[in-house]
Amino acid sequence: MSEALNVLSGLCLVAGSFFSLVGAFGLIRMPDFYTRMHAASVTDTLGAGLILLGLMLQAGLTLVTVKLIMVGLLIFVASPTASHALARAALLRGVSPRLADQGEPSSKP
């Protein structure tokens, strides 16, 4: 494998790891349930996507790359569906979001 491809793949892997870490950091830093989900979706999309891309560049044109593409497609369909189900379940069970327009909620959620 050529050196340029190796460097490009390394850059993708490092960038993907960075966005995964940012997502984890946001998950801890955000104030409530729903905003935490927004932080997690950075890991889901850009973090996972860049890591998969980096691995595909490592694997080249092989069956492994085909499998990685399938993993990517699965993530891109399944993760928003899971996020939607989670957010909807939370709202239906009465987890009220902390909204900017109504200021601080009077009672703790």
């Binding site: 966005f19 946001g26 729903y34 850009l46 939607h84 957010a87 979001p97 902390r98 900017a100």
Partner: protein
């Protein structure tokens, strides 16, 4: 590993199942992406990936900002899609882009939680809405 017998058997059973499903009339509208506009799909994927990267970068900057300048907002708006499939694609695209989560979806109404007021404001009559309606353009 991929001996001709296995491949032929696989193709054969796939065709048999398809014919059986047709005969039993169990192919529903949602399992039928062939009813979508193919050209719109091909241009939709790269556009969606671009949107995901842009909004993921926006959310990344928000997370790393020292003062955490978020303004969480619940917003209801009217999507223009006519079919269930178009609505699903629109709602999943909204949830897939970091910073917005579709919470309730039904024809003519969508409830979205957005991380910032700006993100919530751009949902009604958005380009995503227009593109998702283009996807279902070829309805019978």
């Amino acid at each position: 590993m991929y001996v001709p017998f296995l491949v032929t058997a696989g193709v054969g059973s796939a065709i048999a199942i398809t014919l059986l499903a047709r005969r039993m009339d169990v192919i529903d509208r949602e399992g039928h992406p062939s009813r979508m506009a193919w050209f719109a799909i091909v241009s939709y994927w790269p556009w969606l990936i671009k949107e995901i990267i842009l909004s993921a970068w926006t959310v990344t900057k928000l997370i790393l900002h020292p003062r955490l300048p978020i303004s969480p907002t619940l917003i209801e708006f009217v999507p223009t899609q006519k079919t269930d499939l178009g609505l699903v694609v629109h709602a999943n695209s909204i949830t897939l882009t970091p910073g917005t989560i579709a919470i309730e979806v039904e024809p003519g109404r969508m409830l979205v939680h957005a991380l910032t007021r700006d993100g919530a404001g751009g949902l009604q009559n958005s380009e995503m809405d227009r593109r998702c309606s283009d996807l279902e353009a070829r309805q019978p």
